[in-house]
């Protein structure tokens, strides 16, 4: 058992790819000298030098554009945002340029660009807490990855770095398993389990677009993403004691989405709950529901329930934040409801 935090797994994926492919470079705030706001890139400047690891000014739109320009001309940049919330500063470059240039050029452009960003609510107020996946799942031309554990993170990031398209790779701060040397404390919560901590040393890929069944069950399908996978698994334990066996699915990538996996599970369980950390309205939960209730309609014995963040900016006060973000009880209640007429 080679135990590893998600932070370390992500770092290892980057190091191995940078060793294997000289075209891979890093750009971002404090990624070099400082080692990254969450320590992910520590030591990389020393190992690969200043031509591979670029400490940028605070200019998100600018260095996103630089990353894109480099991706179009023979490099394979990884652009790190210090918090995912800051991607809105670079939104035009991501949505209007990176995601569209391949089509606009009639297939001339390839965009091997990985955008890494830590996200999720960890008590820092509305501008450092968002889960941004839906904005990009809704952006044609983008791929969106949201790993829930170190094993997946390494394999998915390796696949992302070898992909020729813009990939947004979202890392939940609560899953890193590391403190922020930027002055943050390591945040975690008791529902976060240890699965996927056994990480092979050699490089490997998990294909983008393939989800995983992380727990088998028969009474209901729970599709959960990111940190919510852990809460769903914690819920599964409790529910099993009540005789309710849920099947937990982690889509791992949101775009492309492994709809087949989800639908075939629902075909078996006939009930579904979707659990995501992003805001409810027009979010990932809506898309998952639309897929299940659309294509899986005839399999359903009960309405799909979505458990998502409430449609509010994330409040600072922990009690309020925890009310906004889905928790274990929310999942338990939803599963009990969806299975209540069994």
């Amino acid at each position: 058992m080679r135990e590893m935090s998600m932070m370390a797994a992500i770092r290892e994926a980057i190091v191995q790819e940078m060793q294997a492919d000289p075209r891979v470079i890093l750009l971002g705030e404090d990624v070099g000298k400082f080692g990254g706001a969450f320590h992910v890139t520590h030591g990389l400047l020393e190992e690969f030098g200043a031509r591979r690891v670029w400490d940028t000014p605070i200019s998100e739109a600018g260095f996103m554009g630089l990353g894109l320009g480099a991706a179009l001309t023979g490099l394979r940049p990884i652009v790190e945002l210090q918090y995912a919330d800051f991607i809105f500063c670079a939104m035009d470059q991501v949505v209007n340029e990176a995601a569209k240039i391949r089509l606009m050029s009639g297939g001339q452009a390839s965009v091997p660009l990985v955008i890494r960003a830590p996200q999720g609510a960890t008590g820092r107020g509305a501008q450092h807490s968002q889960s941004v996946e839906a904005y990009f799942m809704h952006t044609p031309g983008m791929k969106v990855v949201l790993p829930s554990n170190p094993y997946d993170a390494k394999g998915l990031l390796t696949a992302a770095m070898r992909d020729n398209n813009p990939v947004l790779f979202l890392e939940h701060k609560m899953l890193y398993g590391s403190a922020s040397p930027g002055g943050g404390k390591a945040v975690s919560d008791p529902t976060i389990g240890r699965f996927g901590m056994d990480v092979p040393e050699a490089s490997y890929m998990i294909p983008l677009g393939k989800g995983a069944v992380v727990r088998n069950g028969k009474h209901a399908t729970v599709v959960a993403t990111g940190v919510m996978v852990h809460r769903a698994l914690a819920a599964a334990e409790q529910l099993a004691a009540e005789g309710i066996e849920i099947e937990v699915i982690d889509p791992r990538t949101l775009a492309p989405l492994d709809a087949d996996l989800i639908l075939s599970s629902v075909q078996k369980t006939h009930r579904a709950v979707v659990v995501t950390e992003d805001a409810r309205r027009a979010g990932v939960g809506a898309e998952l529901m639309a897929v299940i209730a659309g294509e899986g309609f005839d399999d359903l014995d009960a309405p799909v329930i979505r458990v998502c963040a409430d449609d509010a900016p994330i409040p600072f006060a922990p009690a309020a934040q925890d009310r906004v973000i889905p928790n274990l009880n929310d999942i338990l209640a939803a599963v009990r409801r969806v299975t209540s007429d069994e």
């Binding site: 705030e29 000014p57 739109a61 800051f86 008590g123 107020g125 002055g183 409040p315 600072f316 309020a320």
Partner: protein, 338 residues
């Protein structure tokens, strides 16, 4: 960056009365003490969120805001406690906000990075670097349109000057002669990046030239120098002559946030700057001038300490936020008041 030699010059207090100067001293001590208390609170108990200290930079906040009217506007940054204190936000609700209490300035909804008090013209700290810059310019535009005579100040760091909104806002402010003062707190670092690593022109004041805005560089640890420069800028703004870019050279004594260790800088550099502490410098000048005796300064410090103990007690004894309280703050559904 080494301290400049003029930062070793004594403060010139001529023309200011002693009570006023003691007021500056008190504000600076309040800002300092607020953060020192926080530092120990974060060490000693589970506090929500994070915080960024402006230790050593207090003269900028206090010098600039002392040139303002109470109804003038300010926007601030992630490192905003001192700006709030200086603009007159009360310590009790500020401290309660740090504890995420219902009695906080922002009802526990904002936290350290979003402190504000609209009744004091404090429009907000922003956790997005640079975000407050165009917002301050907009407040200035509003003052112009309403003919209110107010001005707006935007505080931001050296790192923030590399954001596009800095450029866009300064250009519009200059074109339209908006009554706004852009105050760059050049504390030598943006997290790990020195100014010369992140800005192609390390003298931020020089960037004013790209917008036909006068750029003024002052010793940011000299509260008198900051104040005088701010007064000139405010006068200019109120007279309709447009914005000023005021660069205050200072230093971030503490880590970037909370316990950040700043391994990227030389401890000797920190020590050197500690010698230029703005509070000590004003205190020393007051003593050297024979304006006050040491006990007067000590009394201020003791009073502030007591105020902060009271603020902490207030915060501790305040009710927690109920989980559902946020619901009332998402939208303003009052009918538009004409």
């Amino acid at each position: 960056m080494a301290a400049r030699t003029d930062q070793l010059a004594p403060l010139d207090l001529i023309g200011f009365d002693t009570d006023f100067l003691l007021g500056l001293y008190r504000r600076m001590v309040q800002a300092r003490e607020f953060e020192e208390q926080l530092y120990y609170l974060f060490l000693s108990r589970p506090m929500p969120g994070t915080m960024h200290q402006a230790t050593g930079q207090e003269a900028v906040a206090v010098g600039v805001t002392s040139a303002l009217r109470p109804d003038d506007y300010v926007t601030s940054t992630h490192r905003g406690h001192a700006h709030c204190v200086a603009k007159g936000v009360e310590l009790n609700p500020m401290m309660a906000e740090m504890f995420a209490k219902r009695t906080g300035s922002c009802k526990g909804m904002g936290g350290s990075m979003h402190l504000c008090d609209f009744s004091r013209g404090m429009l907000g700290a922003f956790g997005i670097v640079g975000a407050g810059i165009p917002i301050a310019a907009g407040a200035a535009l509003s003052a112009l349109v309403r003919g209110s005579g107010q001005v707006a100040v935007s505080f931001f760091g050296d790192g923030a000057t590399n954001e596009g909104v800095f450029h866009e806002a300064l250009n519009m402010a200059s074109l339209w002669k908006l009554p706004v003062i852009f105050v760059c707190e050049n504390n030598q670092y943006a997290l790990s990046m020195t100014v010369s690593e992140s800005s192609a022109v390390p003298d931020i004041a020089k960037r004013g030239a790209a917008y036909a805005i006068p750029g003024v560089q002052v010793d940011g640890n000299n509260v008198i120098e900051v104040l005088k420069a701010a007064q000139a800028a405010v006068e200019r703004a109120r007279a309709g002559a447009g914005p000023t870019l005021l660069e205050c050279i200072t230093y971030r004594i503490r880590g970037h946030a909370r316990f950040e260790a700043s391994h990227y800088r030389d401890p000797a550099e920190v020590e050197q700057w500690k010698q230029l502490d703005p509070i000590t410098r004003l205190g020393d000048a007051l003593l050297a001038d024979g304006r006050v005796q040491p006990d007067a300064l000590e009394q201020v410090r003791n009073e502030v300490k007591a105020d902060l103990e009271a603020a902490i007690a207030f915060a501790e004894s305040s009710p927690d936020v109920e989980p559902d309280e946020y619901l009332q703050y998402i939208f303003d559904e009052e009918p538009a008041h004409a």
